[in-house]
Subunit: 294 residues, 6 copies
C-alpha cells in the first residue's frame, strides 16, 4: 500500500505548481457537439464533468462553451426538415433558427449542466441572449439567421464566476431587435476567452491535435505560434472545420489570451492531464517570445 | 397641454407611495404558457416586458416564472407523438420530458428573455437545473417524469437579483441523479416566492380573477384570505387548473409571502395597474388580520 | 375604469425611459425664496416636495438649493432695519449677515426640510458652513459680507446622497476665520452642480423660461446653448436677476453638467413633467454638439 | 527644556489609558445656551471647540447638543415680544416657535459649527427636523408648541459619526404633520445619548457640580448614583433648572449610558480634564455596582 | 504514456471529493521537534513543506504548531547547562526559558517558515507572545516557567489565515506581566484547533499510530472515539509522551473539532495521503455517533 | 489643582495639530540593540513601549525595526566563539548566522513584543523570512552570510498595520533558496520606510544627533537636507556606524519618505516629544524645498 500511496502523493505534488500557477485564472473550454451526440458518450460526458468540477475545486475558473450541430440535424430530420448547407454553413431560415435555439439551449446545454451538477450546484446554463451576452449580426443574407459575433458583453459571465459558478454557454446570439442567430461555437469560445482575459482557451476535438502533414498522425504539432498557424492556413495545411478553431486561437493569442490548446477529447480526463501534469498533450499555441513550458 | 401634463403628473404622484413601499421587494410573477402560445400574442408579450422593466427600473426585484403546456403539445404533435393525460396531468415518458425540457428552456424561456432584453441587458434565463435551483422527485410512477418540488435552492436567484438582473425561470427540476422532471409552473412560482421571502406572488391568467359563483362574472372576489380559499376549494367552487394556483397562494401566504394576486393577463399593463395605482384589480389574497389596502 | 387605467399605465410607460436614463444621477434644483414667501404658497411647496420625493424614490439623487431674499427683508423690516442695495446687491453689515443666516438656515431651510419629511425621514438641512461646504470670500468691501464662492467641498453632500438622503442647502458660506457670508443662491446651485458632476441643474423661477424678446411671451426659447446665451447676455436680452442663473448655467455646462433648465415653478409638478415626460417645458440649455432631446 | 519636555511627555502618557479606553466611543456633550450668550464668551467657545476637535482627533465620537434660551428671549425682546413663562416653561405660540427655530438652528447652531470648523471641516449642524431625528408631541396644550420627545431616530447621527463628522444638534422637533416644537435641550441630550448607546453624557453648566447642601460649595458631590439622585430630587435638594439634567442622567444611566457628568463649563478645557486626566472634576454619576473610577 | 497519464488523472479524481469537502476548513498540524532535530531530516522537512503548500493551494487553511525539545537540550548542552526533569517535565528557570524561547522562536520556527517559503511567500512565524496569542500561567512553582494555557486569543491567526497566509506557531506564552513560559506544543495545538473551530487536528509523530497492545504493532487502532481513549488512558494502555496528544484530541473533539489524527510523520507525504486519498492511515479519532469515513 | 490641570490641558492642546497631521501615517522607528543590551535598560524599554502604544492609540501606524549586535556577540562569547570583524562588518559563517537568527528573532524581538503587549495585544513579531518580507543577497563572499537588501515585499507589514497591529521586525533576510542572511538593521529600516511610503523614518541612537564638528556637542545639526548630508559624508564629518543611518535617511528622503530623524534614545519619551510637541529635538532631515517645521 505504501508504494501505491507514494505514487498517489507524487501525483498530487506534481500537480502543485500548476494548481498554484492557475489559481483564479479563467479557462474557456469549447466542448464539441459531436462529443455529446452518441449514446455511448454518457461516460465521456461524465469524465469531462469531473474535470470541470476539479478545475473549479482547486480554484480555477472554467467556462464551458458548446455547440450542437449533430443534435440540430437530428431534430430537423425527426421533423422531416432537410438541412441545407452552403460552403459548409447551414442555411438557417426562421424555423431552423428556432429549432437550433431549442436544441442548443433546451437540450445540449441542460445535458452539460446536469452532468456537472451531479457533483454539486455549481453549473449555470447561459445563452447568448441572457443579459445581452452575445450581440450578433447576419453573416450573409443568403444564409439567413447565421450570425457573426458583433460584441460580447461579459458581465453575466463575470458575475457568475465571481460567485463561484461555472457558466455553460449556448451559442445563440441576438441582434438589437431581439432576433436570434445561430453562431459558430468555436468562434464564440475565442471571443469569450478574449473578453474575459482568459489564461487558456481549450478546444476539445476528436483528433489528437494539429498535424503538419494532413494524413500523417506522426506529424502532430506539439507547439506552435500564431504566425506559424497563419502560414499553415495560407498554404492549406489547415482546412475545413479546423479553420474557425485555428482562427480563433490566433485572434485570441493576439488579444490577451496566454495559451490556446487543441486537445483530443477522446482521451479520458484530457483536461486534467493538460493542465495539471508535466505531460504535454495535443497542440499548444503560444506567443513566439515566451520560453517556459505549458 | 397643461391639462394633459397635469394628469400625467397626477399619475406619477399616485404611483409614489407604491414605489416607495415596494422598493427592494421581490415580486414573483407567474406568466402562463397560454399567453405566449398564439401568434397574436406578440404585443401582449411586449407590454408584459415593459411592465417587468418598469418594475425593475423603480427598484422592485421581479422574478418571472413560466410554463409552456401548449407549446409542448405543439412540438409533440409535430413529431407525431400523442399527448396522454391522467387526472389532468401529462403522462411524461423519457422522450416527453426531453421534449418538455427543450420547449420550456429552449423556446419559451428565450422568448421571454428576448422580449425583456429589447430594453437592455437585464433578463437572464434560468432553469431549475441551474445551480440546483429546483430539486424534484417523482409525483407518481404512473405519470413518469412529472415532478413535485422537493426543495428550492434560491442561491442563483438571489445572486442574480442582487446583481440587478431579472431571472426568468423555466420549471424543469432534477433529482439527485441529474434526471429531469417537468413540474407545474404554478407550484414552482409559489415555492420560489416562499424561498425568496417575496412581498408579492402574482398569477397572470386568462380570467378576471376568482369567482364565488363559477359562472357569474359579477361574482368576482376582490379580496380573500387563505382560510376562505380553503373553504372554496373544499366545497368545489374552485376547481380544475385554478387549484395549483390557489393552493400555492394559500401555502405562500402561510409561509411569509405578504400578498398574492390572481390577475387577468389580458388587460394591458395589468401588473403596473395592480402594483402602482389605487385601483384594485383581480383577486387579492391577504392574511385575515391586516387592515390596509393593496 | 379600464380606459382610465390604460391611460395611467401609459403614463408610467412614458416615464420608463427617463427613469432608466436618470437612475443614480444627481439633479441640483434651485428653489427660489419667492416661491416660499407668500402664505398662499403652502400648496406649491407641498407639490414641490412630492416631486423631490418621487425623484428620490425612483432612484435619482436630488439636491435642493434655496435662497430667501424676501424673508430676509421681512425680518429686517420687523426689526426696523432698512435694507440697502447697491447695484442690485444687498449691503450686508455684520448684523445683516447674522439676520440673513438666521433666516436662511433657521427659517427657510427648515420649511423645505419639513415639507419633504412629511413623506419620510429623507431630507437633511445643510448650510455652507457645515463640514466646510462653501468657502467664501468678500465680493467687494463696500458690500460688507456679501460673498463669492471660493471653493466647494462637496464631501458632506456626497456622503448624504450616498446614504440616500436629500440635502437641502442654505447658501451661507464662511471664510477661513469662520466669518459668515451671504452668497447668491443661483451661483451656489451652479457651483454645487459642477462639484457633484450633476446630470441636470434646474432653476425654478416665476416666469415660463428665457425669452428672445423680453416682452414677448411668445418668444420663449425652448432650447439653447452656452454660446447663444453668452450672446444674449452681451446684447442685453438677458438682464437683471436672470443674469446669475444664466451665467451659472453657462459655466456649469462648460464644466461637466449635462443639461440646465429654467422652468416655471408656478406650474404644478413642473419638475416631474420636465424630467419624466416627453413634453418639453421651459428653456433647456445643452451643449451645441448633442443631438438627442431632453 | 528637558524638564519641561519631561512634564509634557508625562501628560501624554497620563492620557494614554483614557485614549485607549474611549476610542470609538460616543460622548454626548450638552453645551448650554448661557455659555454662548455673552460677548465675552468668544474665548470660552474657542476652548470648547478645541476640546471637541481633540476628542475627535484621538478617536472618540463626540456629539454636541445645545439650547439657546437667552438668545430666544433676546430676539423676542428686539421684536417687542414679551416672553411668558408658566411653571418655568416658556409659553410658545406659533410665532414664538418660529422665532425659537430661527435662533436655535440659524444663530446658535452655526456659531458652534463655525467655531469647530476653524480647525477643519468636521462639524455638521443638525436640527431635530433633519431626517426625522426628533419626533415631538405637545407637552401641554396651554404651553403651545413646547414639545416632549416621542422618539429619536438616530440614523442621521450614526451616519455622520460613521463618516467621522461631529454632529451639532439644535433641539427643534416635529410632529407627524411637520409642525415644529421647541424641546428642552437637557432632555434631548439624554435621549440622544441613550439612542446612540453613548459611553458618556456630559452636561456643561455654570456651577461646579451638584451639591448635597444647596448653599454650600464645599458640599460638592463627586460621585453619585441614580438611586441617590432620585432621593435628592425627592427631598428637594435638587431643584429648578437642574431637574431636567438630573432626570436625564438618571434615565440615561438606567438605559445603557455608562457614565454621566455635570461639569463646570467655566473651567478652561474642562472636557479634556475630565476625560483624559486622572483628576476627578465636577459630579460623576455611575451605576452603584461599579468600582473603577472615571 | 496514456496508461501512466490515466493513473495520474485517476489520482486527481480520487482527491476531488476531499478537496471539495475540506475547502476553506482549518487544519491544525502539530509538527514534532524530533522531526527537525536530525541532519538527515532536511528532506523530510521539505516533503512536509510541500504538503502544507498543497493544502493551502487547493483551499484548505493549514496552521502549523511545533515544539523543539531536542533543540533546546542541545543548546543547553553547548552552554554547559544540564537539563533537569521532574515527572517528565523540564525544570525551567529564568535562563532556561530564555534559551527555550530563543530556540523555538529563533531557530526551529524560522526553519519551518523558510522551508515552506521556498514555494512562495506564504508562511508567517508567530509566537504565543504575538498579539497576545497564548496567555499562560505557571503549572507548578517547582517547575519554574513551565506554563499551562490559560487562554487563546486567536485574532492574529484568524487575520493571517483570512489573508491567505500559513501561520507557523512557536509555543511560548506569556502571563499578564509579559513573563514568558514554555508550554507543551501538543497541548497548544489542541487549544488552537478548538479556538479556530478547526475541521481537523493532526499530530505527526514517529510511530504509526495508537496501539491497543503497547508492544504489538499489529494492534494499531484505526478508528476510535474520545470515550474509548479515556478508557485507554485510565487503564494505562496509553502513557508517557502520548498522553498530552491524546488528552488534547479528546478535549478538542468534545469542543467542536471534527476529527483528530495521530499519523506517522516518517511516511513521506503522510498528510496528503490522509487528507486527499481514500486510504486510511494512522489513528483517527471521531465522535461516536458519526458514520461516514475520513 | 486648577493650575496643574490647566497645564495638562495645554499640553494636550499643543499635541492636537500633530495628532491630526499624522493620523493614519506610517512611522518607522529603528530601535538599536544597544538600547536593549544592558540590565538597567528595562525602564528605557518600558518608556519606549509606552511611546509606541500612544502613537498607535492616537491613530499613527508605527513599525519598529531592531538590530541586536551586542546580544549576538554575547551569545557567541558564551559559546566560546570569537567574533571576527572585517571593515566593521561581522564575518558571518553558517553557524554565526544561525546564532544571529536565534538572537534577533528569538531573544531581542520577543523582548520588544512583550514590552509593548503589556499594554494590550497589539505587537506582532515579524522576521524578514516571514511571507518573504526581506529578500537578501550576499554582500561579499568573504563576509559569508552578511546580506544586502535585494527587495522588500511589504505585504505582511501592510496587512498587519491595516489590522491595527504594530509590527516589530527582526532583520534576518533570505535568498531564493531559503538561506538566511544577517542584514544591517539601519539599512532595513530605511528600505521598509520606503516600501511603505512612510511619513517619518526615526533612528533612536545614543548620541544627541548629528554634529557638524565631530567632537563639539554644541555643533548639533538641528535641520539638514539630503544634499548637505552627502557633503558631510564626502568630507568625512559623518563616519563609522552613523554611515548606514545617514545613507538610509538620504535614500529614503529621495524615495518618498517625508522626514527622517536621528534622535537621542536616552531621553525619556523622546519619540513623543519629537512627534507631538512644538519642541525640536535631535537632527531632522528634510527636503530642501520645504519650509514648514517638524
Amino acid at each position: 500500500m505504501i508504494t501505491d500511496a507514494a505514487s498517489k502523493a507524487a501525483m498530487l505534488v506534481e500537480a502543485l505548481p500548476y494548481i498554484r500557477r492557475f489559481r483564479g485564472q479563467v479557462v474557456v473550454v469549447k466542448y464539441g457537439g459531436n462529443a455529446l451526440a452518441g449514446a455511448s458518450n454518457d461516460q465521456a460526458l461524465s469524465l469531462f464533468a469531473e474535470d470541470i468540477v476539479l478545475m473549479r475545486a482547486v480554484g480555477l475558473r472554467p467556462v464551458v462553451v458548446h455547440g450542437g450541430g449533430p443534435q440540430i440535424s437530428d431534430l430537423m430530420a425527426r421533423l422531416g426538415k432537410k438541412p441545407e448547407f452552403r460552403n459548409g454553413l447551414r442555411v438557417t431560415d426562421a424555423e431552423t433558427v428556432d429549432l437550433a435555439r431549442m436544441v442548443l439551449i433546451g437540450q445540449v446545454n441542460p445535458q452539460l449542466v446536469a452532468a456537472i451538477n451531479v457533483h454539486g450546484p455549481i453549473a449555470v446554463g447561459v445563452s447568448g441572449e441572457d443579459a445581452g451576452l452575445i450581440r450578433a449580426s447576419a453573416r450573409d443574407p443568403e444564409l439567413g439567421f447565421v450570425g457573426d459575433v458583433s460584441a460580447i458583453n461579459p458581465t453575466i459571465l463575470q458575475r457568475l464566476i465571481d460567485d463561484e459558478f461555472v457558466p455553460v454557454v449556448a451559442t445563440i446570439g441576438t441582434d438589437e431587435h431581439g432576433q436570434a442567430y445561430n453562431i459558430n461555437a468555436d468562434t464564440v469560445a475565442g471571443a469569450i476567452a478574449e473578453s474575459l482575459g482568459a489564461e487558456k482557451l481549450v478546444y476539445l476535438t476528436d483528433i489528437e491535435g494539429l498535424r503538419s502533414i494532413v494524413d500523417d498522425p506522426a506529424s502532430l504539432i506539439r507547439q506552435t505560434t500564431p504566425d506559424e498557424l497563419d502560414a499553415l492556413m495560407a498554404d492549406g495545411t489547415i482546412a475545413g472545420g479546423m479553420i474557425p478553431k485555428v482562427e480563433s486561437c490566433v485572434h485570441a493569442l493576439r488579444n490577451g489570451v496566454r495559451r490556446a490548446h487543441i486537445l483530443d477529447g477522446r482521451i479520458p480526463h484530457v483536461l486534467l492531464l493538460e493542465i495539471f501534469t508535466d505531460d504535454g498533450i495535443g497542440t499548444m499555441v503560444r506567443d513566439r517570445l515566451e520560453q517556459e513550458s505549458t
